[in-house]
Every structure is written in structure tokens, then in C-alpha cells.
Symmetry: C3
């Protein structure tokens, strides 16, 4: 077993990867929009784009996500968030998911998403 970190800052890493030999578990930091002036649709798109980008660095993609946790600044944005999520997620490889309302750190953030992915070793 071996731990690696991606986009590591002195406070947190955007992604940590635990390599078990026959596969990896991948933990993503809570992702928020780069542009908090966007509406829920725009912010959700940015967040899901960041997840795609991070997973790619570990050789994984959205089909490997096993658990996602979505925090909404306003639960009234559930339908609009889901509309973007539904377009993005692979319907044949959906993760376990939980969505709750929470106060996000920046008052302008409307959505934050955390996830865990599992990447089997190629050929294993």
C-alpha cells in the first residue's frame, strides 16, 4: 500500500490516492466552482469538470466513482443541479450518492461535491 497526493498545497491536497496493488482508492477534496458568480447550472458544470480533470490525473474517470456527496447552499437548487449531473454521469456506472443542504464557505458558492473512486489495476 502506498499513498500519493495530487495538487498538494500546504493546507490540503485536491486528490489523494491509496494504491492497494490490485487497485486504487481515490479521495477528492470538496470541489467548488472557480467562478462563484455563475448560477447553479454553471457552478455544477465547473465542479464536475474539475472532478473529471482530477480523476484523469490518476488514470481514472467518472465511471470509477463509487461514492459522491453533494452539498447545496440552497436545497431549492436540487432540480437544477440534478439536470447537469444527469447529463454528466454515466447512467451505467452511477455511484452511491448523498445530497444535503449546508452552508458553504463562500456565500456565493452554490454547490460543493466530494467523491471517492475505485480504480482496478489494468489487467488485474
Amino acid at each position: 500500500m502506498d499513498i500519493s497526493r495530487f495538487e498538494m498545497g500546504p493546507r490540503f491536497s485536491e486528490m489523494t490516492v491509496v494504491d492497494f496493488g490490485q487497485g486504487k482508492l481515490i479521495y477528492l477534496a470538496g470541489q467548488v466552482a472557480e467562478d462563484p458568480s455563475l448560477d447553479i447550472t454553471g457552478q455544477t458544470r465547473q465542479v464536475l469538470g474539475f472532478i473529471d480533470r482530477l480523476l484523469a490525473q490518476a488514470g481514472a474517470d467518472k465511471t470509477h466513482i463509487v461514492q459522491a456527496r453533494i452539498y447545496l447552499g440552497s436545497v431549492g437548487d436540487y432540480v437544477a443541479m440534478n439536470s447537469v449531473w444527469d447529463d454528466w454521469v454515466d447512467p451505467a456506472h452511477t455511484p452511491a450518492r448523498a445530497t444535503v443542504g449546508a452552508k458553504l464557505i463562500n456565500r456565493e458558492y452554490k454547490v460543493e461535491i466530494e467523491c471517492v473512486a475505485a480504480l482496478p489495476k489494468a489487467g488485474a
Copy 2:
């Protein structure tokens, strides 16, 4: 390593299972009551029943839960939720647990529970 999904919908799966050969990690979606008109006692019972039912599909049970996360619509329901939890949980196999207040997606939901379980391979 191998990933399987249970009660998979196009948006999320109720359970994902990562098989490591010598055992499995099991991720459950946030479970909420089927009947949101129930009080906190009734909703907690339904949620814990759903967890039992899902884990059974993976060959596991509540003694395998290693982490549980409980979201309460009102923190004032902590004592009543715990009363049902305490009757349900196996006191010799209790998980790490966190409980926080959060806005739940449906205004009538009073409790949502997520969990991770670990199931050793029989005979391993």
C-alpha cells in the same frame, strides 16, 4: 479489484461494492424514509431497515459497518434518533459515527444516513 452496483438508477446507485479479493468495501447512498410523514422514530426505523436490506444484498449486515454519517433535519431530534439507533446497532460492533444537522432535500425528511461497511471474504 472489481466494482459492482446495486439498485442502480441513471442518477445514482443505492449501493456500490469494491471487491479487493480478500474482502469488500461497501458504500451506501444516503438513505431516507419512504414515508416522510413519519416522525423521527418512524423515519429512523425505516432508514435503518433500508440499510439492513441493502447490506444483505452484498452478503453483509450491520456488524460490518465501519463508518456511519447521520444528517438530522433538526438537531433537537438527536435523542429520539439515538433511541432507535441504540436498539438497532450491535453494541459489540459499533461503527465510527458522525452526526450533524443539515437541510435535507425534502422538507419533511427528518433524518438521512450514509454508511461504509467492510466485509471480509469468508474463510480469508
Copy 3:
């Protein structure tokens, strides 16, 4: 694969450990301050001290944390919490992290932290 529990009570355990042979995954219960009359600085110090103490019981330390989730009673405490976190975390081994505002169970609690750590087997 083998599961062990530390500081196990009949309701929850403070820590559960899943041993995969070549390493362990360690799940900590949400940690809160022992003295809720402390300010955010004092509470964060106590919480991080509890995390150190628990991880040590599993032979791990803060450099093994792969995921941390921080709940703040008031998002206005973000800067003060980070100041204590930044002094504590090993800047060369930072976890994936998410921080959100949530209602904590005791009105006096200002911060609660959950984490997952990965401990490779010595010599593996």
C-alpha cells in the same frame, strides 16, 4: 481482511480499522472538543489533539490522513480554524479536505472533524 474497533461504546466507536494485509484503512468518528466553552481556536486544537491520539492507537499519525471533513458551526470561523489547522498539518502530507457549515449537535460546539487515514504495512 479484518475489522477492529477502538474506544468502542455501545452507540459508536471512536475509530474503526480495516486491515487489508498490506495496509489498513482507518475511519475516525466525528471529533468534537471536550470543553465546548473554548473558542474556535481552542476547540480546533482539542479536536486535532484527539485525532493525533486516536491515530496513534492504530500506529498511524496525521501524515496518513487521506481525507478530512470539517464541519463548522459558523462559516465565519473558517479563517481561525485554518490557522490552527495550518500549524498542525504536515504540509508535505496534506489530505483531501472538505469544509462546510452545519448545525452541530451541541449548540456550543464550533467545529467537528471526521477523517479517513491509510496506513501501509511496515516493510510492505
